[in-house]
Amino acid sequence: MFKRPVQSVRSSIILLAIFLAGLMVIGSASAQTSKAIRIGVPAAIQLRVGRDTVDAVRMAIEEINANGGVMGRQLEMVVADETENPEQGISAVRKLTTDERVDVLIGGYASGVVLAEMPHVAQAETIYLGVGAASPSITAKVKSDYPSFKYFFRVSPVNSTHLAEGLVAFVSTNVAGNLKYTRVAIVGENAKWAQEIVPTLKKGITDAGLNVQMTELFDPQTSDFSPLFSKARESGAQLMLVLLSHASSDTFVKQWYDARVPVLMGGIDTKAQDADFFQRVGGKAIGEFTTAAAVRAPVTPKTIAFWDAFVKRYGRAPVYTAPGAYDATFIYAAAVQRAHGTSPDVLIPQLEKTDYVGVAGRIAFDDAHDVRAGPDYVSVRFAQWQDNGARIIVWPKALQTGNVIVPPWMRR
């Protein structure tokens, strides 16, 4: 039996004294190197997407600093954990803007968190370059209330509406065209972003002459997808379009494979984009296609160089927030250079004029400060997991490295 230490008033007082000392420490303004330009990175550091955001910004900063910095000033990064909880997110951006007094914010992942942070960032009049949140609501605010929200720009990813449109285009040409499929099932997690794009998907698919046999959104907590697969099979669908972000893609795919569901599967599956996804699910992702924001392919002259440098430096392949974060840092630096300053009044007009060929594509903003999507800008890309874990780009045609295949059990 443990011997409890004697109830000591003294030890408790010491504890409280440490607390008060801590209060003083965090309360006092932090020292600032006067000449550096400070980049605040609100990121969910416990997640891969957050870590890659931080690492990519770091890489970009080092390169820029090595080339003399911006206007002779060095760049510096300050990270704050925003988690997936809005309360923590608000706290993180507040810390970065009012305490650390950063010049710009580059980061973001969960749309709900970013939306919660927006008024606070706007109040602090700090520019925010989003790299991970895809909700159109974010940039819609820029358009509806420009004076308050003009600070926000989305560098990546392409917003979910564009993704949905790209998916429709891909399915109606490559999939329906090559495989002669006509019957589609739409399946996704019952979350706001998916609920919002289902109508777009449905309309697009039907307009393209295909039939939507079934639509079902499942509870995001679902861990057993057998009922869903049974229904998809029974509906006669040949293709299952999936909308997965926070739900368990790994489980979904493994169960799809194990049950040998005779329906081709793919769509917008955030986690399936990870370079190690195929391996993580023991090869069971074969045949799944999903968006490919970060691929080791010559999307632009810079893409492969970035990919290899990231892998070399960090020992792992980047996820979709990394190219965005990397590009955002360079875009910011270039805008500061053109504006000869970091204050939002001179910087925002320069950012609006951005026309930069980055890792992800040619980046320019529309009138809602949203990254332009399309063949001349940042293309919506889809890649499919094929034999031996090869990631084949199947859309757009210009970047295609192979044709769409079906999973082994569907091959005659």
Partner: protein
């Protein structure tokens, strides 16, 4: 020194520190952290009133917090009401919820009340997600107007609210009324045998505890400028209970101070990066192991000399 004087001295000292603190440590950010701590303090103290005194543990305090917050959110974004209306409205809505949950369940003995509160908060959270078109779903409601322009002013408003809430709750707790609540916590059967309608007292205590929770929810909404379903989660309920626990159950002032301490601790741990939550939970484990009766209230009672 008599106990009453000691308590008064302690309260004054605490107030003095809290009034001066944001002025001494410069930085808008830190004031925001403390404001959040004060709001959590209101929630923790209000939880402690009912659950600490009567011993009937409420595992769904988030229901009142969320109800208050969403009331403020709806009033402000959909009906464009002046933010100040949120405060009384939120408190009223929370009380209504407390009656809806409390009246059927507090007549029963055993853990059913606790489970019902847990279930009620969970069901409410579910409903906000189901009716996402009206409540904003996972993203919640944005664009809520702030109550006061200056963060310092908001801080003092919250401080004033916290002190008022704790003072009122302590006053009720010290009254003959409060004695009965404590008696219920001690031995409900005996209390009932003496002729008191214990259910009525419990329901009243539950409602009294719900009002500040709703009020705090409204303050939260106008401070964060956003509300979401996370406010109805079991995570919030548990955080509130933890804070009350650290403070010393049944003391109310302990809960308030515990809330401020834990909020500040979470902030201090920012430097730990990925290890933040591990350190936090380990500290909690150690604290529970070595001080199972809580930190703040037992400490104050020991310092003051003599037991309650």
């Amino acid at each position: 020194m008599s106990k009453a004087y000691a308590n008064l001295a302690g309260a004054t000292g605490f107030m003095a520190v809290m009034i001066v603190l944001p002025l001494v440590v410069r930085g808008r950010y830190f004031v925001g952290v403390l404001t959040l701590g004060l709001i959590y303090g209101i929630w923790a103290a209000s939880w402690d009133f009912m659950s600490g005194l009567t011993g009937r543990e409420n595992f769904g305090h988030a229901l009142f917090i969320g109800a208050g917050a969403y009331t403020a959110g709806f009033l402000n974004t959909i009906w464009m009401a002046n933010p100040w209306w949120s405060l009384p409205a939120a408190a009223c809505v929370a009380v209504v919820f407390s009656l809806a949950v409390g009246i059927p369940t507090l007549r029963l003995s055993g853990p059913y009340f606790s489970l019902a509160t847990l279930a009620a908060a969970a069901i409410m959270q579910r409903l906000t997600l189901i009716f996402w078109e009206r409540t904003g779903g996972e993203d919640g409601l944005q664009g809520i107007a702030p109550l006061l322009k200056s963060p310092l002013e908001l801080y003092y408003l919250c401080l004033f609210s916290l002190v008022a809430v704790v003072a009122i709750l302590l006053a009720i707790s010290a009254s003959p009324w409060g004695m009965i609540l404590r008696a219920i916590g001690g031995d409900e059967l005996a209390c009932r045998a003496s002729g008191h309608n214990t259910t009525l007292y419990k329901v009243a205590a539950f409602a009294i505890g719900a009002a500040p929770a709703g009020l705090g929810g409204a303050l939260y909404a106008h401070h964060q400028l956003q509300v979401g379903p996370q406010l109805l989660s079991v995570f919030v309920s548990v955080s509130v209970i933890t804070m009350a626990y650290v403070g010393g159950i049944g003391s109310m002032y302990g809960a308030a101070i515990g809330a401020i301490l834990l909020t500040v601790l979470t902030e201090l741990l920012r430097g730990a990066g990925e290890w933040r939550l591990l350190v936090y939970s380990t500290v909690l484990v150690l604290m529970l192991f070595f001080r199972p009766h809580g930190l703040v209230a037992p400490l104050w009672q020991a310092l003051r000399g003599g037991s309650e």
